[in-house]
Symmetry: C2
Subunit: 354 residues, 2 copies
Amino acid sequence: MRIAQVAPLYEAVPPRLYGGTERVVAHLTDALISLGHQVTLFASAEARTSAALAPVRDQAIRLDPAPLKSDLAAHLSMLHEVRRRAADFDVIHFHTDLIQFPLFEHIAGRTLTTLHGRLDLKDLPEVYRRWRDFPLVSISHEQRRPLPFANWMATVHHGVRADLFAPSAAPRGYLAFLGRISPEKRPDRAIRIAQRIGMPLKIAAKVDKVDEAYFREEIAPMLQDAPQVEFIGEIGDAEKSSFLGGAEALLFPIAWPEPFGLVMIEAMACGAPVVAFNCGSVPEVVEPGVTGFIVEDEEQAAAAVQAARRLDRREIRRRFETRFSATAMAGRYLALYDQLLAQGQPEPPLAAIA
Amino acid sequence: MRIAQVAPLYEAVPPRLYGGTERVVAHLTDALISLGHQVTLFASAEARTSAALAPVRDQAIRLDPAPLKSDLAAHLSMLHEVRRRAADFDVIHFHTDLIQFPLFEHIAGRTLTTLHGRLDLKDLPEVYRRWRDFPLVSISHEQRRPLPFANWMATVHHGVRADLFAPSAAPRGYLAFLGRISPEKRPDRAIRIAQRIGMPLKIAAKVDKVDEAYFREEIAPMLQDAPQVEFIGEIGDAEKSSFLGGAEALLFPIAWPEPFGLVMIEAMACGAPVVAFNCGSVPEVVEPGVTGFIVEDEEQAAAAVQAARRLDRREIRRRFETRFSATAMAGRYLALYDQLLAQGQPEPPLAAIA
């Protein structure tokens, strides 16, 4: 099948450090190639991919030092180029939210749009009412809640490349927190849980400019009073296997409707169980008693960590491979692409059947 | 003529306080109505207008307290509605930068797009190369410099409603600075110029969140050492006539390529001369020796203030009325609308002429 993957231009594909959407697009693209398909990736020029790359910007926007840039203009130019080449593809798969709708109305039926962000924004319902013809994919069932009437085709949970993460059977006695320091990710809960059970905690996280005050005023003082908590900053893919593989459990104490939560499946890929708060996509990702536990408060979390240490780490990795590998994700997307193509084909005329 | 005016959704039309684009759209719309045309204004619901209002959002985005909103989605919904009603209009006039391009390709020739912002952004050239059919209006010749190859139809300088501003023949002995506290507006220069000539200066300006550090660290200390400088904060339209009419001169010491600079013509409307630094649109707006002076440094500015006090304030108002009233602006736009319609009309068949 000839497939176009259209990535956002904010981060490299895959991102150098933090970044979810572009990472998933990278892994999906490579998995589709492995399965024998022809894939063209529209992305910024520093993408690392086994697909044919259509480089539509010299570099990703976020880290581009140019003083004045327009993310809207950059995405419009990319989409103009995708449309110019639309006849080259059987299916065009967008990961760019809704900006593509005006350009692809004439072929909406052979596009697929995966929505990667939260959908509880005031202005969104009207857009999804006005552009009804675009088949949409949610990354969790929970993500759909604010837009139940939209043109949902399926939920496809994220996957990541299995070969990037080495499962470890022998954890090294600490808990892990991985991601971003921000109020909705609740690193404060992670610290209190570690204190409650007297286990070391390692926090690998970036601090965005917008979250610097939160870090300085809320988290830094907690770190000073908690000698068993180590803040190691932002880490890249190369360090994740060791960091997550060594953890007794990943703490995922979020307090916002996270549409997916990639770090949960990265932990599972390393054999680490997940102790997650009941929020957003968590109940769809964590299988209690198999790959981790779902909790409502810090007391339950502390108990769950002890239970999680008794889970079979090889079974966690197996569940990851079945449910959340990039290959599993690619298979689910291929089924949707097939469905689109079948719907798009006119019925063969009777003469041809006879 | 049946005309649609499509405003941005960031501020009310006109804005309650600071804001250029939505103010110009408000004044243009009212002037077109006064000249006998049928105008429909697409804008947020709190617009005050004599046109037919098509309210496409319950309120302007910037001051909307909703915690999560999408300016992209809001504008796409508005443009979808404009397109749905496109047959109702002879001409559709956009003030929304470039986001409308994908939706109006089929009728680009009867649209007009006024670009209100600076154009030296990295990602813009590619968009204007790809969408070549949209007739564009610049608000100064200088504004075009980064995009000389774009499909420019004309430059139309901004205008404001003459009846909103009462000209004053008797200034009250102070200099005025009106706008925003920010490094590129150079309020520091205004303060030093006032100190140099020993004249009071009144600063009416808002301080955006992003400029708070600049205000605190650079401007506030200067204010403490300059007792003749008074900082009076943000003012609305109702206070502008008195504030500008009382000024011996408006100081406009900018250090960035401002595409127009509405405050210069507001000052002229009140009879106040303008002392402006040679930057951006300034040479197109200020007529040296008639409506003010153009200077290169603070020393020249100090001398120019003294010379400006001898200019004829009634003549300044007359030049404003001729060149920069909303009616003058509306007349120039009507000529462009006529030109679009003429280009769009098929030649009458010979039989019809005979």
